[in-house]
Symmetry: C2
């Protein structure tokens, strides 16, 4: 039995193995993903992002505990785009989540940046499919940091939570441009710290400047460490989900994700074809010698070579 | 008159303008570079690399002063691969070099990382061509830091100088793998600091482990700030240049550079062609809808699409 079928049969080791193939950019993953695909696309995807130290993992941990209490099987991907090594920055998070470690219905996996051929969002998108096929619903995607890669990964999620703390304070203005754009819910965590109320108000002001739409981004206060405010976060997720479903935004979002994944896969295939057409080393050497003799320039020569390739 | 011709006529503003086009990845640069190409490839390229704070710019400044005293026209590119903004980290260097600022025979330019279509080394290679066409010989390429991009840029140079200080000390072991490989001359700068001799000896020991070749990498002590040891650095550059020329290594190096530049240009053209073949948005939308209806998977669909493209 292939890995794909084994994942559909809820075999944890096969899921782990397939995720490793994806993480390594191994082409053997494709055949397995083909097999899974029709069994995916139905789980709800929750994104958690925010600056380091804001308490994303603690919040994720609380959400997992909540969904487990409802008897759901939960998947979680922790993605660190800045680290080329797996298990480094996120190892701490995994340790913190030890209370779920022996629970076979909680599948937690960290992925680090490995120069994937299709980019981080492609690899993350494929990893989500595996967790869906393994029967996880919801799937939580946590990204470390607030850079461009994180924003791309967050786009995969249907409901994206931005976790801030009062300490994020003045940096909020800087966050505004990219991250607040993608947030559906903002959690002001560590709300027991001084200035929490002021910080929440600042964020609400920024949100107030957004054009009105069917969803008004709520700012929810929490102290994730103590489980305070988690119920309000859950309520906000459910409310956002209902709006996404009733307005057709969810369907639209899934369509957009499918489109961009398809574009990425086609692009990768076209690149492979292009790479195969590159002249070999000895042919290049002849051209280079021609240039060194003072005949022509590399731009015109390249045009000629590509024209000959047809 | 085009920019290319104006650069060949030694018009500084045109050289500056063409470098900006290259820095911006503007396709209009290509026609100008075609025009320049046959007038380039003759200047001697000196690379300076090393950790931040080692005194690279001060050394470059002294080398410029030396070559100016010989009546040569000098070009210098300061490249900061880590910064997406121009003029930031290297602004200080340019200020330090103010003594050359009003000298029309010294052309200093900083370039920062801008996601160039052909990569950093491609853009740096093109910028070097412009300085050559402008009549600069030698051209100094200074890179900030010691990462992979710096190593690629350093490969452009015929003689690469690695600048260390006694403070680099224990990090030398870490530098060993990549940077010492590409160094033709090692300058132990700030040699008036304690432990300078010990640090030089450590580096000599590492160099001693390299297989013997026609060039034995010297470790030269300097206090660039006071102009001490600069004559020995110049001597080492000249000695290395003579070996490069007499053994044919220089010709080989130029051929390798031409090959890799040509490969890069052809690859870029093939990618452009591939990009033009990507299905349009409405076609992708139809495919995505097909996937959403549960028919097929994106991998098989992509294969089909690419096959149809022929």
């Amino acid at each position: 039995m292939g890995l794909g079928s084994a994942v559909l049969n809820r075999d944890a080791r096969s899921a782990s193995r397939l995720l490793s193939l994806i993480e390594d950019g191994d082409p053997r993953a494709t055949a397995e993903l083909k097999e899974l695909y029709s069994h995916t696309g139905k789980s709800y995807l929750i994104g958690i992002t925010g600056p380091p130290g804001s308490g994303k993992s603690t919040l994720a941990d609380q959400l997992i505990a909540h969904y487990r209490s409802q008897g759901l099987r939960i998947g979680m991907l922790a993605i660190d785009p800045s680290s080329p090594f797996s298990g480094g920055a996120v190892l701490g998070d995994r340790i913190r989540m030890q209370r779920h470690a022996t629970d076979s219905d909680v599948f937690i996996r960290s992925m680090a940046n490995r120069n994937w051929p299709g980019g981080l969002s492609q690899a993350a998108g494929e990893a989500v499919r595996v967790l869906e096929a393994y029967g996880c619903d919801p799937v939580i995607v946590e990204t470390v940091g607030v850079g461009q890669s994180e924003i791309e990964v967050a786009r995969l999620a249907y409901t994206t939570i931005l976790v801030c703390t009062p300490a994020t304070g003045d940096k909020i203005q800087a966050l505004k441009a990219g991250v607040i754009e993608i947030a559906d819910i903002i959690v002001m965590n560590k709300a027991d710290l001084p200035d929490a109320e002021h910080a929440s108000k600042s964020i609400e002001m920024i949100i107030g400047m957004k054009p009105p739409s069917s969803w008004r981004v709520p700012v929810v206060s929490s102290v994730a460490r103590d489980g305070k405010g988690i119920d309000k976060v859950i309520d906000a997720i459910e409310a956002h989900r209902r709006v996404m479903e009733s307005t057709g935004t969810l369907t639209r979002k899934k369509l957009e994700t499918a489109k961009s994944q398809l574009r990425e896969i086609i692009w990768r295939k076209l690149c492979e074809t292009a790479r195969a057409r590159l002249p070999g080393d000895s042919e290049l050497e002849q051209y280079a010698e021609q240039l060194m003799r003072g005949s022509g320039d590399p731009y015109s020569l390249a045009e000629e070579v590509v024209r000959k390739l047809g």
